[in-house]
Symmetry: C2
Subunit: 110 residues, 2 copies
């Protein structure tokens, strides 16, 4: 036991959960904020901005990459990270639709 039963759910739920999971750590939110701040994407000094070691930041970057939310292109000695426009929009849309489905309930219990 312990392994997530991913197969048993709908693709929509799996996809939204994948994106949400990637967003589920303050360090990764912080990384995304750094990438969101710039219009250009020459970025390689993410490590200095975070209270974590280089290897740990690299790991978080990997997870964001695996979720599809960011891309990393080798630019000489450094690696240039930026947000993946397509995945970003998909995640945004999926979450937006889900959050928009809420309607205040009419029974007394809540």
């Amino acid at each position: 036991m312990g392994a997530t039963k991913t197969e048993e759910f709908t693709l929509a739920d799996i996809t939204i959960a994948k994106y949400a999971k990637a967003l589920g750590h303050p360090a990764r939110i912080a990384i995304l904020r750094i990438l969101l701040e710039r219009t250009s994407c020459i970025c390689g000094d993410i490590v200095e901005e975070l209270p974590l070691s280089q290897s740990t930041v690299s790991q978080h970057l990997k997870e964001l990459k695996e979720a599809g939310l960011i891309k990393g292109d080798i630019e000489g000695k450094k690696v240039c990270y930026c947000i993946d426009a397509q995945a970003w929009k998909e995640a945004q849309q999926l979450l937006q639709v889900m959050f928009g489905k809420y309607k205040p309930c009419d029974t007394s219990c809540c």
Copy 2:
């Protein structure tokens, strides 16, 4: 090691990560969808709709509750779950603002 360095980040990042983490599993997305479907919130048959055992579903419900996204009121023999309007709106807003910050980058690398 292994413990998340939660203290070192901004409250905004911690909060958004907390909500995202709660959304980071297909089962919990499925649960939220079930709750979103109804305008009333007499719900106690969430277990039947999921391919998981009762104890596992209960655990997922607990995590959603701890993140603040849902509430559970005891209604006689059953427990009545529903979405917490305030937390829901906060999560929605935080995510919306963050996702809205994206602007396509102008350099060649991406």
